[in-house]
């Protein structure tokens, strides 16, 4: 039995020795070099950074319908991450537009409100940034800054309504217990438009896949904002403020922004400027889990392409596969519908009768009609890479 310290050292050792692994991500662009590292309570994950911890789920671990807690990706901006005691944890609800400020313990949160479970993808805004061409700065994620889990908690709406939302409320602001080394560094604080905060799917979550939240995924309580990118899913949640003004902290005003009008998705009007607007909803997307790029398929043997498709909550209408250089497309078979915010499995047999190279491309279409594009819409922070992916394999 390894101690936590030994595990940490093992993780650091992995980083130091730079044990490189061949990139196994699909896509035409080569993935960044991968090395594995271990955080306490997690299986070895692709280590993008040790401090703050940014660890990506390996492709093979994205195959299951729900992503296990011990392989779920980890993403932090700041390095002071306290291990919170669930018994002494408190959630404060306040702000200038609250009628009656509240403080809730975990027991009060669990017993005082209806319990809800939603299956949803949590995807980092910058997932696939490392596949961007041209390359852009930031954590160089390949495909695994995402996962699908069952999130259990209470509706944010119910908690806000218990505290009372005053007329004139515009945004709800969220802060967590993690912070920076330097006092000058802006704390990670995010806001949501009031209407999104009051949406029935927005949860104050305390369980993930039926277990208490893992430390590295926000224990004891985090926000879950199904359909919106991970940046809004505040971990280690401690403070909620209902405010009549647009929150102007660094992580809203300067970070996580897109060129205004460049992408579809919900608008965040109170934060929008003529130049930039916050990232909001996840765009329709898909991931080829198998075969992996460069795989050799045996001629004449059964083979199939498998993977996931998801969007911002409309649900997946169809997944199409092309094996002829994207000239013709055939519909793949979809797996169980786990809910409109969850990803959907797809599979399709691959013809292995003829030897030679094969490019397998996959594109998903949402129930709202949106389809994955062929071309990347460049943006300087490397968000929303939902272009059609392909893997090249060899039939031999």
């Amino acid at each position: 039995m390894l101690t936590r310290r030994e595990l940490l050292l093992a993780g650091a050792g992995t980083w130091l020795s730079r044990r490189a692994r061949a990139a196994d991500a699909p896509g035409v662009t080569a993935a960044p070099q991968d090395s594995l590292g271990t955080l306490p309570g997690k299986q070895p994950l692709i280590q993008r950074a040790f401090r703050p911890p940014n660890f990506e789920t390996p492709l093979a671990d994205l195959a299951a319908p729900f992503t296990s807690n011990d392989v779920f990706f980890v993403r932090y901006h700041l390095t002071v991450i306290p291990w919170l005691d669930a018994a002494s944890w408190r959630l404060k609800v306040g702000g200038a537009s609250v009628r009656q400020p509240l403080t809730l313990s975990l027991a009060e949160l669990k017993s005082g409100f209806e319990r809800v479970t939603i299956a949803a993808v949590n995807q980092c805004s910058g997932n696939r940034r490392g596949l961007f061409a041209p390359r852009v700065p930031g954590v160089q994620w390949a495909n695994g800054a995402m996962g699908n889990a069952r999130w259990t908690g209470v509706r944010l709406r119910d908690v806000l309504n218990k505290a009372g939302v005053a007329a004139g409320a515009l945004e709800v602001v969220f802060a967590g217990a993690d912070s920076a080394v330097l006092p000058q560094t802006p704390n990670f604080v995010k806001s949501l438009p009031l209407e999104r905060a009051l949406d029935e799917s927005t949860l104050i979550a305390f369980e993930m896949n039926g277990q208490p939240l893992p430390h590295w995924n926000g224990a004891p309580v985090r926000l879950a904002v199904p359909g919106w990118t991970g940046t809004y899913w505040m971990k280690h949640l401690t403070d909620i403020r209902i405010e009549p003004k647009a929150f102007d902290g660094f992580w809203m005003k300067s970070a996580y922004r897109l060129p205004t009008g460049a992408f579809p998705g919900a608008r965040f009007a109170s934060q929008e400027t003529p130049e930039t607007t916050p990232i909001t909803e996840i765009l329709v997307n898909s991931l080829i889990v198998g075969p992996v790029a460069g795989a050799r398929l045996k001629r004449g043997e059964h083979a199939e392409v498998t993977g996931k498709a998801w969007d911002g909550g409309a649900g997946i209408a169809a997944v199409e596969v092309s094996v002829d250089g994207r000239r013709s497309w055939r519909e793949a078979k979809l797996g169980h519908d786990l809910g409109r915010f969850a990803w959907r499995d797809f599979r399709m047999p691959v013809d292995t009768a003829r030897a030679g190279p094969l490019e397998i491309a996959v594109r998903a279409r949402s129930r709202n009609g949106a389809q994955q594009p062929d071309k990347l819409t460049f943006n300087p922070s490397g968000y929303h890479d939902n272009i059609v992916q392909a893997v090249s394999v060899e039939v031999a």
């Binding site: 130091l16 993008r48 040790f50 401090r51 390095t79 160089q140 920076a180 560094t185 660094f250």
Partner: protein
Amino acid sequence: MRRIARVLGRCGIIVFALGSAGAQAAEAAAAAEITGLKDAPGHDLTVGRCIICHSLEYIPSNAPAMNRAAWQKTIQKMRERFGAPITDDEAKQILDYLDANYSGKAS
């Protein structure tokens, strides 16, 4: 000594021993091996400032996306937005080190 340095390095501590010029060069090389960053002028200062807030993988992993202008912008962001304690003179040395060793993108 190298083994000790490695052990200390694993604990997140980097030791810069003082001694003769030769010993210093050897120590710098050992330190560069621990940090994983290139042993070149500006290595120690860059490590010393950057590691206050984050580990060092960010430097090589971002290299393909960086050129001198991008590094300058990053250093400016770390100083002005995040409060990194870096003087103007140090910023110049760090920029020279990062640009010389970790600029992988055409300017």
